[in-house]
């Protein structure tokens, strides 16, 4: 009998702190644990007692990478609680901001976290000596996206402009025209690296997964829709999320884990969005799929990388459409009026890393009395364990155990995990 434990500590090039432990005995993989070791930040506790104005400010501090979607989801949950309905054009502006955030996050993940793996390098900065032009191109892409975020959000990290009822400052036609020009520039620069990564392909690993994403049956939605489970096809309304998504406490992790219906692990992220909503991809994104022989649904945990690349193209198309619409008929109002009242609000949205839920209760003076936030990475932790086990088994069978650490890191990275948002579990009376 040979029992041993392989620990991968502080996986690099992900957001936040995560350890993975693999327990092996006699060539069998017994168990895999995904341990969030990030210090606890009990953000929901801070939200209680704060006014509806401050809640989104603090909720956006969940995560520095995807702060745009946290901010917008939080504002949306506040609006839902106060019964505010946003005019269509302001809704489109919000969507634009969120798309900017998704592009920003996908670019960091695909070109700064994933890319070095293809070269066998530690860091994207290590590519500087051998290929400075390529690195400069990647940095230029980021700069372009940042310019867009600045126009729409006012700040790159933790956007300022979204507030309950609309925007804190008007976004004018000339700003939108600027954003459109920036988008055209982005399209010119980004296609080469996207094609490069698509051509590199992904490791082969088939694992049957359950996928969960927001759907509305006509687009690849980001902000509004029902919760769809694939392949079962079950659909739930946003306010039914607590019925299906159940938290699970693991002693080894500071982040909660989640199961579907108390038993099933599931995958959220770009791959879930596209496995469910792929018929509604833009024409250019569909063309690109054809060019590289990609067809959804895909049942490979690494396929999240491919889905993110396809999404980059899709979101650029959606953003261009939105910008053209808004430029031809710019929004006339900045913010709608509303009254403060007691209420409960839920926002089920799609963060870059998958489905995100913000849920608050407010008293009649507009102060939060209860808050619950479910982040994508926390939902993915159990699935990371499952697929890492399957991948370890495949590698052990192939007799390439020496590669285990490197390959498992690659697998975990494909989920685009973000531990800062997940490591917060708080209960008044444990």
């Amino acid at each position: 009998m040979s029992k041993r434990e392989l620990s991968i500590n502080e996986i690099v090039r992900i957001e936040g702190h995560l350890d993975v432990s693999i327990y092996l005995s006699d060539g069998q993989v017994n168990r895999v644990q995904a341990k969030a070791i990030e210090g606890t930040r009990i953000l929901e506790r801070f939200l209680v007692g704060r006014s509806y104005l401050e809640v989104p400010e603090m909720a956006s501090r969940m995560c520095g990478v995807c702060s745009a979607i946290h901010k917008v989801s939080s504002v949306q949950a506040v609006e839902n609680a106060l019964g505010i309905v946003l005019p269509e054009k302001l809704q489109k502006l919000r969507e634009l901001l969120v798309i900017g955030g998704h592009l920003h996050s996908h670019v960091i993940h695909m070109f700064f976290f994933i890319l070095p793996d293809y070269y066998g390098k530690d860091s994207a900065l290590d590519l500087l000596p051998s290929d400075p032009e390529f690195v400069k191109k990647l940095i230029k892409i980021r700069k372009i996206i940042n310019d867009m975020l600045k126009i729409l959000g006012g700040s790159l990290v933790h956007p300022i402009t979204p507030v309950a009822g609309g925007f804190a400052k008007p976004i004018y036609k000339k700003n939108l025209q600027n954003a459109l020009n920036i988008l055209k520039l982005l399209r010119k620069e980004i296609m080469d690296p996207v094609r490069f990564e698509l051509a590199m392909g992904i490791p082969e690993l088939e694992v049957k997964n359950t996928y969960v994403a927001v759907t509305d049956g006509k687009t690849v939605p980001l902000l509004h829709g029902d919760i769809r489970v694939f392949p079962s096809g079950k659909t739930y309304k946003p306010n039914e999320y607590q019925k299906v998504i159940k938290p699970l406490r693991e002693k080894y992790s500071t982040a909660p884990h989640f199961l579907l219906d108390n038993r099933e692990t599931y995958y959220v992220g770009a791959i879930s969005r596209l496995n469910i909503n792929h018929p509604y991809l833009s024409d250019a994104a569909k063309e690109l799929c054809k060019e590289f022989n990609i067809s959804f649904p895909m049942d490979n945990p690494f396929a999240n990388n491919i889905a993110q690349l396809i999404e980059i193209v899709h979101y650029m198309d959606v953003a261009e459409q939105l910008l053209n619409d808004l430029i031809s008929d710019p929004p006339k109002e900045t913010r709608v009026d509303f009254e403060i009242k007691a209420g409960e609000g839920i926002a089920v949205t799609e963060a870059p890393r998958g489905m995100l839920i913000h849920h608050y209760k407010f008293n009649s003076e507009g102060y939060a009395t209860w808050a619950n936030i479910i982040t994508p990475t926390a939902q993915n932790l159990k699935n990371i364990e499952k697929t890492a086990k399957a991948y370890t088994e495949a590698l052990v069978n192939l007799g390439v155990e020496a590669l285990l650490k490197f390959e498992i890191e690659k697998l975990v990275r494909a989920y685009d995990p973000c531990l800062s948002c997940s490591a917060r579990f708080y209960k008044e009376n444990p």
Binding site: E10, V12, R13, I14, E15, H17, G39, T40, R41, I42, R45, F46, R50, S51, L53, E54, E57, M58, R61, C63, G64, V65, S67, I108, F112, F113, P116, D122, S123, A124, L125, L128, K136, I139, K140, R142, K143, N146, G154, S155, L156, V157, H158, I160, T161, F167, A168, K169, R249, Y252, S253, T254, E365, S420, A423, F425, Y426, K427, E428, P430
Partner: protein
């Protein structure tokens, strides 16, 4: 300059937004890398090496024993320690307005049931502070070049409010929008008020902050006064007694 300055980026309990904002420096970051070598940073993909450092940038608050040990270990091998962002500078107190909030019981693994959030300077010596949520990337650049050139780097001697006035923005308080600009340490270029949303005080208290004056201004413009203003005032009175 013949030898590059060795720096490390570390993150305790945080959202890593300060980190991301440094990545957002884009080409300016490449300029800095001509003089600076990043020898340890998870997000840049450079694993733990436990080397001696010239400068350690620490982001995030301290929320558990491991983080205290981690901060001490980093301090031991670094010539200069910089607290990056509000979490590291104040334990997230200004962003989250949790003055006087201690020891909530939380559902966590054994040994971590009591919640704490502390600034890193409670446990280790900090040489420079870059406040804000996130820390301002331009200030990061300013600090790096100041250190390289052996120049003095100091806090800005004015409030957010005075920066806002410089931009000729309309006063948000007069529009009935709560804004902490008059009592908040400047240096951010009044980013939030310029974008039409009140200051949240993420950079901490301005040295000559007049909290009573702000409370009066809130009253005058019919803005509900948040409890934390009174808590802050109480803290200041206590601090003055100790001096």
């Amino acid at each position: 300059m013949n030898k590059k300055v060795k720096v490390g980026f570390f993150s305790l309990a945080s959202c890593e937004g300060c980190y991301v904002d440094i990545l957002n420096l884009d080409d300016k970051l490449l300029d800095i890398l001509k003089y600076v070598e990043i020898v340890e940073s998870r997000i840049f993909g450079i694993p733990k090496r436990s080397e001696e450092l010239d400068v350690a940038f620490i982001e995030g608050a301290i929320t558990c024993e491991e983080e205290i040990e981690r901060a001490k270990e980093i301090r031991k091998r670094s010539k200069i320690v910089v607290a990056l962002g509000d979490c590291a500078c104040s334990g997230g107190k200004f962003m989250f307005k949790n003055f006087g909030f201690t020891g909530a019981k939380i559902n966590q693994p054994p040994g971590k049931e009591n919640f704490i959030t502390e600034p890193i300077d409670k446990y280790i010596k900090v040489d420079y502070y870059l406040p804000g949520c996130p820390a301002k990337r331009e200030e990061f650049v300013e600090l790096v070049y100041s250190l390289l050139a052996n120049r003095r780097f100091a806090e800005k001697p004015h409030s957010v409010c005075s920066e806002c006035i410089l931009y000729e923005n309309d006063c948000l308080l007069e529009k009935g929008i709560p804004c902490l600009g008059p009592i908040t340490q400047g240096g951010c270029g009044a980013l939030c008020p310029t974008n039409g949303r009140g200051c949240f005080g993420c950079r901490g208290l301005y040295e000559d902050a007049n909290i009573d004056g702000l409370i009066e201004a809130f009253k005058k413009h019919n803005i509900p006064i948040p409890d934390y203003l009174y808590e802050l005032k109480k803290k200041l009175v206590e601090a003055a007694k100790h001096e």
